[in-house]
Point group: C2
Chain length 123, copies 2
Amino acid sequence: METDMEVILKTEAEVGAGGFSVKGGENKGIFIKNVQKESPAAKLLSMREGDQLISATVYFDNMKFEDALKILQYSEPYKIQYCLKRKIPSAAAAAIGPEQVDIKEFKSIVVGLLSRKSIQCLH
Amino acid sequence: METDMEVILKTEAEVGAGGFSVKGGENKGIFIKNVQKESPAAKLLSMREGDQLISATVYFDNMKFEDALKILQYSEPYKIQYCLKRKIPSAAAAAIGPEQVDIKEFKSIVVGLLSRKSIQCLH
């Protein structure tokens, strides 16, 4: 009986965690080809050669407009999920509250005051 | 007293959900500039003008190698979180199990058999 196992690993969110190369593509999947020793990918993300890249969550904090555009353009044909922040005007918020947003349309929704740092969607 | 509110919305994961443009950049953040009526962005993601893009999770299913490379290159300087699939050889898995992977190094870990579709990290 085949007892090979697989683990699905979610890394921490890190800034500038480079130092790895990839191979594969199309129906084969994208795999880690090489991880440079002592690189951020090795030390912060604990990546290993042979790991398959399932998904990458990119955060737009302090991102250059041109880079955001490129990432969005190259990602567009593929499966993608967005985390959005939407402001609700004070009058509407007081009168209607979060029901102004049709919750059914979204996978999840978190409500907070503007002054509060909303990090729930960030991890 | 200021009662403006903000909601953090997580869209469904959709393929080819284009039809929007962005503005902003650097310290200002990336915002939805325009959403084309009847576009996938409008209908599938319920995006609205003015929404701030917090993050985008890109899935590498059936992705062209060149596109994966571009996305990874443009994302590298910024905050990014990966979901990885790692195979554990049958002998090691039988003998050691998931402890072979140092759980402390990762935000989360899911263990499954190779034959099972591992979708826990996909949403």
